[in-house]
Each structure stands twice: as structure tokens, then as C-alpha cells.
């Protein structure tokens, strides 16, 4: 075996001479000595040599390749040199302060250029093995160079990825027998921790995989499959007790390493270093961070701030927001049309998903999610390797959102598989679903759902069934209470741990995953009951799932209490944060709040720009969470015409447009029945192009506040009275309290003491009318809609309420 030995690092001249430009990152070896250091980037500011010598396959010519102005391998020079030929790496020059270059044997050279493209990993150049016999064999590391103490104290650091099952990236060997053969990052079978392997050593030391202490060397595990999955940063700290130090003089990089009969390793490599011992029990965190910042590899542990620092110990954490200060990756997306390429997506400086990067990558192509990165620091990423089963994030036009935040859209047949099985005791999920399992397990059914119920009494695990299960912080029986189809926070504290490893297909069956959208999923292996309210509040603060849940302590609704639901373009409750959710024509939504008690119209203008905006939600300010919603954009009323916020008499108004059979406009309220007495106070203007207009339609009970022919008003279908022009802005007070129901318009009595029957309100109310019928639509505009579960006439408040509304809106 031919071995080239070059120790005269300092004697080699750089390409073009001199150290070249200073790279826009901190070279990691500016402050750390090394005996061997190979990389596709410049590792020392003072290093003046080239990066590698490359070999052109077509004619056997070689040349040195240096670094570009960014300190990265000068790939343009390789492409130029290649002239269309495949290019291999013949020598990987040592950038360390001592030690040899890594020279590949003829026939074992890694590939850097395919003939058409530079080999890359994570967007950076990479040395790519072509087969099991390609790499840098027997690089003559001189152990005596390892300081401050010989060989027993050293750290072997790499940025690499296994290209087959066997992950040897570096070994020291005795020429006559193989000892201290180290295979790092082998997964254990139960917790997914990636651990190291040493053969013929009883040494102690630390294996660190992306910053996580994986303990001392262990014997080989049963499976190495996971080892192939990820580009990794690794620190192996020391081998301490082998007495045959004199034999340990060769290192192998990348491949051609014997590991038992017929087993060889291949590694895609970007950086390999042997550096002096820093700490036997610690690891070189600075190198981890430096490499991670440069190569953008993973979400490191050791976070000091953010959600995961506040609520520590998460087993896995998936989110569309940044959960810790060390998290750099959120998702990997795949283009669903040719060339079907993938890209990692990180976060904005503010900690949101980098939606601009998604749009820039996808352009007009839809994007699926191939990997959801774990932010816990354990690198338990969730991936789907089959394109047809990947959830989606981008439809080719807009990023999919819920309530203004990005959301991963899943169907019953999509699923992501977690890289290791998790023991789950506590689960928190921000989601919106119509069915499917909350989590899945390839060997069981702990979260088996039952139609619209979250859990099946027959199949779900007893630890899950018997735990405390919450929807929007409300304790519920998940086996007999229909799940909300709105965006919710689901919290589950099990009575014991259950195993899970899929999001969220179960066992071997497909078509069982969560059907809807998910924005966050965080699991703990311990009981988070004491943190549950705070965790829910944190999730809710970000996703704004629970909006306006506090009762008024001052303001209109404090002065006139017991409102069951209250919608307005002004702030009625001093604790109400949001007024409405508006939607742009591209489907993006945003919550709009208040400024000094008025609707924040500037926020609407800023969000919508030159495009019209409609109202997808009108938020209930009563504190009862009975928000009015219209999910179909074609049926949403308008608030902004692309130029100005729509107004009535100078105040913002929700425009129900003209009555239309093709696109009727309304907002629907799901609300528990309210028995009489109850009172409606409404500021509105009805449309004029239909003989019947309805502001309230109470469904099957047929209670309705209607305009008939534009100038008559009715409390029910049989109570038509008065001559009032409702096509003008009016405040209407309807009090249902049979047999003495009353109706007032602008403070004047129109219907007095009528029997309207004893019906309660319906469970669905329609602001703007019932869209199913051409005749039951309001049209016009609406500015305020309040429902009290009492008789505000007998409470003595009616006149004051009307006056208050009249004063604010200056109703003629």
C-alpha cells in the first residue's frame, strides 16, 4: 500500500501565494492547535496553502485548488479545470500546525466533481466516496505530536455523513492488527441516542454527537441504519487506557476501513480534525458551534434561552417557530415537481419560520415537507422518505397558514417517522384537525382515534385514556367529546409512558394520520402537569389560538355585563386583544387588534397593500370564545377594498356586499343554546336589493330579525311590524322574552310586548344571514353585534346601550 507522507505543511505555497482574503467566519483553528486538519473551508487565517489537489479522470492531470473569497473551496476553479471530466481528490491538504496531508491511493480517490456538478452536502462542497474502497488510508498521524499529553488525550472532530451503514471516519491502527477501531454514532435500540463503538479497547472517553453526550464507547448495536440519516458533527474525546501507544500511528479518513469480515465504511466528508485534548469529560463545544454555524447542520443542545430552556427536558420538539436560541433548522422541504430537489428552512431573526425562504425556493412549485427537525437537541428528526406520504407546507402560491402562522398540512395518508422511539408522558400539540391520530407508533396504537373523537376506548393505550386530556386548556373526555375542528392546543398528561415514533400514522396501517394542520408538537417523557398551564399559555401566546379569553375589567362589556358574544369594530372589553382576522386574496391571514380603542386600520392597510381584504374571523370580545368565522373566502365579508378600509359614517364597517346567490357573505357563530330572555344589540345597514334581509337567522327555530321589503322589521316570521328604513345605518335592539318581546330601532320602539314563542337561540347564528338562501341575507354593512343572555330592558340598560352605540357610530 502506497502511502504519501508530507509533513512540511509550512513549506507548501498557497494557490496564488499568501494567506488570501479573510473568510467571513471565525476560522476554528485560529485559537486551537491541531495535528491534522482537513476541510473544504479555510480553517486558519494564517494558512496559506491550497485546499486540495484534484485529479482529472479524463487525462490524469492534477492541480491544486485553493479557496474562494469566502474561504470556501474554490469550486469554480474545479469546474474550469474539469473541462467536463469527472474530478477526484488526490490529496486533502493538512491545514493544521503540524501533521501530514491526507493522500488517497490511486483508485481510492473521493469524488468532488461528477463531470456535470460539484458534489455537495447541505449546500457546501463535500468529498464523496464512490465505493467501499475510496478514502484516505493510513494517513501517518504521529501520535507523539499530540499535545499536551500523548495520544491518551485527543479529540477527533468531524463533519461528515455515512454513505453506507458503517460509520468509521477515523481510526488509529497498528500495522499488524487493528485496534481502537472507532465507529461513532450508532443508534441504540430504545432511545435513539447515537453512541460510539470501540473494538479492542477498554478505554474510557466521551463520544459526543452534535453536542449530546453519548457516553463512553459501547459495543456495536444491532442496527446501523439510522447512522446513514444525517450529516453530523462529532467529537470523540480520547482513548485513555490502551498500552500499545507506540503502534497508533495511522489514521484512516472516509473509507476502506476494515470492520469485521466484509464490512467497510464510507463517509461523505467536509471536515476532519485531530486536536489536543481539551477535557476528558467534556467536549469541544466551541468547535461544535463553529461548525454548526458554518455548515448549518442541526439544532444543538445546550440552549440557554427560549421555550425549551424555560420548559426543559423535552424528548422531541417540532415546531414552525424557533424554540431555543440554538435552533437553526425548522423544516426540510421538497419540490413536488422536477427536479424534486430539497432545501432546509430555518428561522427569521424574530424566531418565525423563514417563509420568505420557502417562497423563494418554491416559487410557483408546491413544496412538501420531507423532514421536520427536532429542536430538542437530541436530533430526533421526523422524516418521510416516500414522496406520496409527505405533508405539505406551500401550495405554489402561499405558505399554508392557520391564524396567520405557518402550518404543516397533513392528510390521513401522510406521516413523518421519528428517528427513534420516544417514551411519551406529556404531549402538547398546536393543531387543527377533523380526524386521525394525535401520534402514532409503528408497533402499537397508543393514540388510536375513533372518528371525530380523539381517542378510542377500544384501542388507545390505558395510560393515554386515563390521563388528563385538555383541549384549549379545558379538561375533556377525549373518548366521548367531539374534537374541535378549529385550531386548538391539545395537552395530554398520561398516567404512564407510552411509546410513539410516528406523526402520526399508526402501526402498519396507513390512512390514520391527523387530518388537518399541525404547527407544533412537543413531547416530554415525564409528567409536565405543573408546567402545563404555562406551556399552554406560551403556545397560545405565539399562535393566538385562544383569543380574547379574558372578561372585561372595564369598558362597555364591563358596564353592561353578561354578554354571551360580542363583535365590534371597536374595543368593547379592555382585555380584548384582537378585533378580527383579515384575509388577503392570496389566502394569507392576520389578526388585527385595536389602537386606542378603535380598529387598527393601519395594520389592515399595511397587511393588504393594494389588494382587497376580507374578514375570516370576527373575534368575540365577551371572553366566551364564541368567535364568528367564515372559512370560504368567497363568502367572507370585506373590510378593505384595496385602497381604503370600508367605513359607515366615518367608522370602520364590515361590508356584507349586495345579496348574492353565488357568493353570499356572512360570518357564522357556533354557540351553546341560550334560553330566553336574551337581547341583541346591532349596529348595521341592510342591503337594498332583496325583499327579505336577515341579520340573525337562528336556523331550524326560525327565529329571525328580518327586514321585509327594506322597510319593515320582524322579530320572527310572524311578527312583522313597523315602517323603518333599514337600508340606512341603524342601531337595532331585539329583546326576546316572550310573551313580552320587544324591538327598538335607534331607540324607538317598533315592536312591543309580542309573543315570539319560547325558542332559545340556535347553536349556529349567522351574522349577515343564512347563506343557504337568497332570501335570508342581509347585505349592506355591520359594525357591532352583541348578544346578552338577559333582558337588557328589564335590567335597565337598554337605553344606555343604544346611546353608547349611537354615540360611537354617530348613527343618524
Amino acid at each position: 500500500m502506497w502511502i504519501a507522507i508530507q509533513n512540511a505543511v509550512g513549506a507548501r505555497q498557497g494557490v496564488g501565494g499568501g494567506p488570501g482574503p479573510t473568510p467571513p467566519y471565525t476560522p476554528p483553528l485560529d485559537s486551537i492547535d491541531s495535528v491534522a486538519a482537513y476541510s473544504v473551508r479555510k480553517l486558519r487565517t494564517d494558512y496559506s496553502g491550497p485546499c486540495m489537489e484534484v485529479y482529472r479522470v479524463s487525462d490524469g492531470a492534477t492541480t491544486d485548488i485553493g479557496f474562494d473569497s469566502q474561504g470556501l473551496l474554490a469550486t469554480a476553479d474545479i469546474v474550469s479545470f474539469a473541462s467536463g471530466s469527472q474530478v477526484l481528490v488526490s490529496t486533502w491538504y493538512n491545514q493544521g500546525t503540524s501533521g501530514p496531508d491526507a493522500v488517497a491511493l490511486s483508485g481510492e480517490r473521493p469524488e468532488i466533481y461528477t463531470g456535470t456538478s460539484i458534489r455537495v452536502m447541505g449546500g457546501k462542497p463535500a468529498l464523496y466516496p464512490q465505493n467501499t474502497a475510496v478514502g484516505f488510508t493510513d494517513v501517518p498521524i504521529n501520535i507523539s505530536n499530540l499535545q499536551p499529553e500523548p495520544w491518551t488525550h485527543w479529540t477527533n472532530f468531524s463533519v461528515s455523513k455515512a454513505a453506507n451503514n458503517f460509520g468509521v471516519f477515523s481510526v488509529f491502527v497498528n500495522p499488524n492488527r487493528r485496534i481502537n477501531l472507532v465507529v461513532p454514532f450508532v443508534p441504540t435500540s430504545n432511545d435513539g441516542a447515537l453512541q460510539g463503538i470501540a473494538i479492542d479497547t477498554t478505554g474510557t472517553g466521551g463520544i459526543y454527537y452534535q453536542g449530546v453526550d453519548r457516553g463512553t464507547f459501547v459495543t456495536r448495536g444491532d442496527t446501523l441504519a439510522q447512522f446513514e440519516e444525517y450529516q453530523t458533527i462529532s467529537n470523540i474525546v480520547a482513548l485513555a487506557t490502551n498500552s500499545a501507544t507506540a503502534d497508533l500511528n495511522d489514521m484512516t479518513l472516509g473509507a476502506t476501513t476494515y470492520f469485521g469480515t466484509g464490512e467497510y465504511s464510507m463517509h461523505i466528508m467536509q471536515e476532519v480534525m485531530v486536536i489536543p485534548y481539551l477535557s476528558l469529560t467534556g467536549y469541544n463545544q466551541a468547535l461544535d458551534i463553529n461548525a454548526n454555524n458554518y455548515y448549518q447542520i442541526t439544532n444543538l443542545p445546550d440552549y440557554t434561552s427560549g421555550f425549551l430552556a424555560d420548559y426543559s427536558g423535552a424528548a422531541v420538539a417540532y415546531s414552525v417557530r424557533k424554540l431555543s436560541n440554538t435552533a437553526i433548522k425548522a423544516l426540510r422541504v421538497r419540490r413536488t415537481v422536477a427536479p424534486f430537489d430539497e432545501q432546509d428552512i430555518g428561522f427569521t431573526a424574530g424566531g418565525d419560520l423563514d417563509e420568505a425562504a420557502i417562497v423563494a425556493f418554491g416559487n410557483s412549485d408546491p413544496l412538501a415537507v420531507s423532514r421536520w427537525y427536532d429542536q430538542s437537541g437530541f436530533s430526533r428528526h421526523a422524516a418521510q422518505d416516500t414522496p406520496g406520504s409527505q405533508p405539505t407546507i406551500y401550495n405554489g402560491t402561499v405558505v399554508i397558514t392557520e391564524n396567520g402562522k405557518p402550518a404543516i398540512a397533513s392528510t390521513i395518508s401522510t406521516s413523518l417517522t421519528v428517528s427513534s422511539t420516544i417514551s411519551v408522558r406529556s404531549l402538547f400539540s398546536a393543531q387543527k384537525s377533523t380526524g386521525g391520530f394525535l401520534m402514532g407508533y409503528s408497533s402499537g396504537a397508543p393514540y388510536h382515534a375513533n372518528g371525530s373523537f380523539y381517542l378510542s376506548t377500544l384501542f388507545a393505550d390505558s395510560a393515554v385514556l386515563n390521563g388528563n386530556n385538555y383541549e384549549n386548556s379545558t379538561l375533556k373526555n377525549f373518548t366521548n367529546v367531539t374534537r374541535s375542528t378549529s385550531q386548538v392546543v391539545v395537552s395530554m398528561i398520561h398516567t404512564g409512558t407510552v411509546s410513539a415514533n410516528q406523526i402520526s400514522q399508526d402501526r402498519n396501517t396507513s390512512n390514520s394520520s391527523l387530518s388537518g394542520t399541525r404547527q407544533e408538537l412537543i413531547l416530554w417523557s415525564d409528567d409536565q402537569s405543573s408546567n402545563r398551564p404555562a406551556i399552554e399559555e406560551n403556545i397560545n401566546d405565539y399562535y393566538k389560538i385562544i383569543i380574547n379569553d379574558e372578561a372585561a375589567t372595564s369598558g362597555f362589556l364591563f358596564d353592561y355585563p353578561n354578554a354571551a358574544a360580542a363583535y365590534s369594530v371597536r374595543q368593547l372589553n379592555n382585555n380584548a386583544e384582537y378585533c378580527m382576522q383579515v384575509e388577503r386574496s392570496d389566502g394569507r391571514t392576520m389578526n388585527i387588534g385595536f389602537v386606542a380603542g378603535d380598529l387598527d386600520t393601519q395594520a389592515i392597510i399595511d397587511f393588504a397593500g393594494a389588494n382587497p381584504a376580507t374578514v375570516s374571523r370576527w373575534y368575540d370580545q365577551s371572553g366566551n370564545q364564541n368567535h364568528a368565522e367564515q372559512t370560504a373566502q368567497a363568502n367572507q365579508p370585506k373590510i378593505y377594498n384595496g385602497t381604503a378600509v370600508i367605513t359607515e359614517n366615518g367608522k370602520p364597517a364590515i361590508d356584507l356586499l349586495t345579496v348574492s346567490t353565488s357568493s353570499p357573505r356572512n360570518l357564522n357563530i357556533s354557540i351553546p343554546d341560550i334560553a330566553q330572555p336574551y337581547t341583541f344589540a346591532i349596529a348595521q345597514r341592510m342591503g337594498s336589493n332583496n325583499p327579505y334581509q336577515a341579520t340573525i337567522v337562528n336556523g331550524p327555530n326560525n327565529l329571525a330579525l328580518l327586514s321585509y321589503g327594506g322597510n319593515q322589521i320582524m322579530l320572527s316570521s310572524t311578527q312583522r311590524q313597523g315602517t323603518v328604513d333599514l337600508t340606512q345605518q341603524r342601531v337595532i335592539t331585539a329583546i326576546y322574552d316572550s310573551p313580552s318581546s320587544n324591538l327598538f330601532v335607534n331607540g324607538g320602539s317598533i315592536i312591543t310586548n309580542q309573543d315570539t314563542g319560547t325558542s332559545s337561540t340556535s347553536t349556529v347564528l349567522h351574522i349577515g344571514g343564512n347563506q343557504s338562501s337568497h332570501y335570508w341575507q342581509q347585505g349592506g354593512t355591520i359594525q357591532e353585534y352583541i348578544l346578552w343572555s338577559n333582558n337588557q330592558q328589564t335590567e335597565g340598560n337598554r337605553a344606555a346601550i343604544e346611546q353608547n352605540i349611537n354615540t360611537y357610530y354617530s348613527i343618524p
Binding site: 452536502m121 426540510r332 420531507s370 416516500t386 414522496p387 406520504s389 375513533n450 390512512n511
Partner: protein, 137 residues
């Protein structure tokens, strides 16, 4: 649309059923995105879902007969063909020609299935012990 199960026998003394099925499936994905242009960090590796028969560990690839399969202009069939040792050479030659003619376009999945491959409907597969791909309940 018709779901089809393609049981994979394995190659005696070389590959188990699971190993061969995964290797074939990976090569099916390579039709879309050949290894030469893949990033090692790509998560997508296989084109079709696979199911395992619990009784003997035999694996079947599950596809849809009318699914349109993309053929990359950079496609290389060398490894896929090596995984199909029982397919007659004449059929291999036709496959190579067919794929070559359709580079940059789509072809129906059923046109890529070798004549030597056993094909089962979902009902037949379930009857033979493979799990269904329809809902459990």
C-alpha cells in the same frame, strides 16, 4: 386508480426481501432524482410505500397502476437493472429503450413493472397476509 402489491422475493444469499425491496424502491426514486444529483441530506429516498407480511417478513412494494412516474434526464438504470436478475434480457433492453425515450417526461407505473413480478390486488394481498392500506376501522 388501482392499488397493486408487488411482493419482493429477495435474492438468495445476497439480499433479503426487505433489502431488495428497499433497494428497488430507492432506484425507483432515482428515476425522479438520480443519485448523481441528490444531496446527501435529502430525506426523500423511496418512491413507494412498502408493507411487510408479519408471518415471514416478506416485503411488498405498494403502488398505483396509473401513477405517473417521472423520468429524470440524468437517469441511470444500471443499479435498478442489477436488482432485477430474473428479468429476461430482452425485457431489460426494452425497459432501457422505453425509459430513454421518456427522459424528462412521465410514464405510467404499470409500464415499468417487469413481467416476472407478481402483482396482487389489495384484496388478494390482504388475503395472503399483507396489511391493508385502507383504514383499520
Amino acid at each position: 386508480m388501482s392499488i397493486v402489491y408487488l411482493p419482493v422475493d429477495g435474492i438468495p444469499e445476497e439480499m433479503t426481501s426487505a433489502e431488495q425491496a428497499r433497494a428497488i424502491d430507492e432506484q425507483c426514486w432515482n428515476l425522479y432524482r438520480p443519485a448523481s444529483i441528490q444531496d446527501p441530506n435529502d430525506a426523500t429516498r423511496q418512491l413507494f410505500p412498502m408493507v411487510t407480511r408479519e408471518s415471514d417478513g416478506m416485503v411488498a412494494i405498494v403502488g398505483e397502476t396509473d401513477e405517473q412516474v417521472y423520468i429524470s434526464p440524468e437517469v441511470d438504470l444500471t443499479e435498478l437493472i442489477a436488482l432485477l436478475p430474473n428479468v429476461p434480457q430482452a425485457e431489460i433492453d426494452l425497459l432501457i429503450m422505453y425509459v430513454d425515450m421518456n427522459k424528462g417526461g412521465y410514464v405510467p407505473f404499470e409500464n415499468l413493472v417487469p413481467s416476472t413480478s407478481e402483482q396482487l390486488t389489495e384484496a388478494e394481498a390482504v388475503a395472503e397476509g399483507w396489511p391493508p392500506v385502507s383504514p383499520e376501522e
